[in-house]
């Protein structure tokens, strides 16, 4: 379980958003993050794997399966129920904050 604050950093939010569509490997997660953020969020591979390892340690994501491609191991990650709850809570929080500005004002 995440410790302390339940807030989610932006790259982490996009990792979890990418995995909501199903299990993905590292390169597919990287491409999905860029697509979902319109190219704005582009974590380096070192940063991405740091996030994946820590999310995995905290039970927010899990290794779904491992495959060997061209003699190299490849892990597919999936979001857990904890991760699903975390990213939904973050989306609700951002929606409430955004609605303060974006909802029509009554005159």
């Amino acid at each position: 379980m995440p410790r302390g604050t339940s807030e989610v950093s932006e790259p982490m939010y996009f990792v979890l958003a990418a995995l909501r569509g199903g299990p993905l490997h590292g390169h597919a997660i990287s491409k999905s993050i860029q697509e979902l953020s319109g190219g704005r969020v582009r974590p380096s591979v070192g940063t991405l794997y740091g996030i994946l390892e820590r999310l995995n340690e905290r039970g927010v994501i899990a290794v779904d399966r491992e495959e060997t491609v061209n003699g190299r191991n490849r892990r597919y990650f999936r979001i857990t129920d904890t991760g699903q709850a975390l990213v939904e809570a973050e989306a609700r929080r951002m929606y409430e904050v955004a609605s303060l500005i974006l909802r029509p004002t009554s005159t």
């Binding site: 070192g46 996030i51 892990r75």
Partner: protein
């Protein structure tokens, strides 16, 4: 293997060996798939990402197990390096005692507290005897002239108390580790280059003729190691590095205190920087969390 893959594999050395063995190929795969077809050298952001990611991974790997036992072992390693550094310039005159001191440090590094205790006790008794001008074990003519690295005689301005403090701290730490049971982790071989840097009397930093002059190499190495401890404490939110810094600071303060009449503003500034960095290592683990992985 392409030139790009070779470069990425070199950068992956930043990660712990076990992590590299388990996931190095997977990361290389993603790096190569992300790179353009004409790229032959890593992009700066990817290189930085690997170095920072590797350091984070190493620190996370180090911040496991008992914090107090690991902090004590880290302090014992640092003080053992300082004890060996005090003897190293006199290796030509005291070869066997310097070798014993090096073996003591090797035993500390490999996580053998019992062997380290015996070797440190033996070397420590001899070192205190030399500092006090007492004959013990073999005949040593004092003052002992240096062979290299410094121009000072052995323990020229340090009395037996100062020398005994360094060895006593190591012995007490090793006793605590023996009492706890279970071998401490093996430490990095990077501790060896610290020894000649601590022993070297140059480059000159204090005015010529300053009694009890500290060398710039020693100050730089100590400040760098203390700063690394603050960074590790910050990233891992763990107090083991604060404990190690505090114990080393105790020894350094004892040494400065025994030379109180020779201290200059530069000595006080050096001590102040070590105190600030130690306090930093104590405070940073309690910084507010920015997000759930922080």
């Amino acid at each position: 293997m392409t030139a790009l893959e070779r470069h990425y594999r070199m950068l992956l050395i930043a990660y712990p060996r076990t992590y590299r063995a388990a996931h190095g190929d997977e990361i290389i795969d993603v790096l190569l798939a992300s790179a353009g077809p004409t790229r032959s050298v890593p992009a700066v952001r990817e290189a930085l990402g690997l170095i920072i990611g590797g350091i984070r991974s190493r620190i996370a790997h180090l911040a496991t197990g008992s914090a107090w036992a690991d902090g004590v072992h880290l302090a014992v390693t640092a003080v053992s390096a300082a004890n060996l550094a005090a003897l190293l310039p006199y290796a030509g005159v005291l070869p066997w005692w310097t070798l014993l001191s090096a073996l003591a440090m090797l035993a500390v590094l490999r996580g053998r507290p019992r062997a380290a205790f015996a070797l440190t006790a033996l070397t420590g008794v001899k070192a205190v005897a030399v500092a006090g001008g007492w004959a013990l074990f073999d005949l040593t003519l004092v003052p002992v002239a240096p062979t290299f690295l410094t121009g000072d005689f052995l323990f020229e301005r340090g009395g037996p108390f100062t020398v005994a403090l360094g060895y006593a701290v190591v012995l007490l730490g090793l006793l605590a580790l023996v009492w706890r049971g279970g071998p401490p982790r093996a430490r990095s071989w990077w501790w060896w280059p610290v020894v000649p840097a601590l022993a070297w009397a140059g480059p000159a930093w204090m005015p010529t003729g300053t009694p009890y002059a500290l060398s710039l190499s020693r100050v730089a190495v100590e400040v760098a190691v203390f700063a690394l401890a603050v960074m590790a404490a910050y990233l891992a939110r763990d107090l083991r590095w604060a404990l190690a810094s505090g114990i080393y600071l105790l020894v350094a303060s004892g040494e400065l205190g025994s030379h109180a009449e020779f201290l200059t503003r530069q000595h006080v500034a050096y001590w102040g920087v070590l105190v600030l960095l130690t306090l930093g290592a104590v405070i940073v683990p309690y910084r507010p969390r920015r997000h759930c992985l922080d």
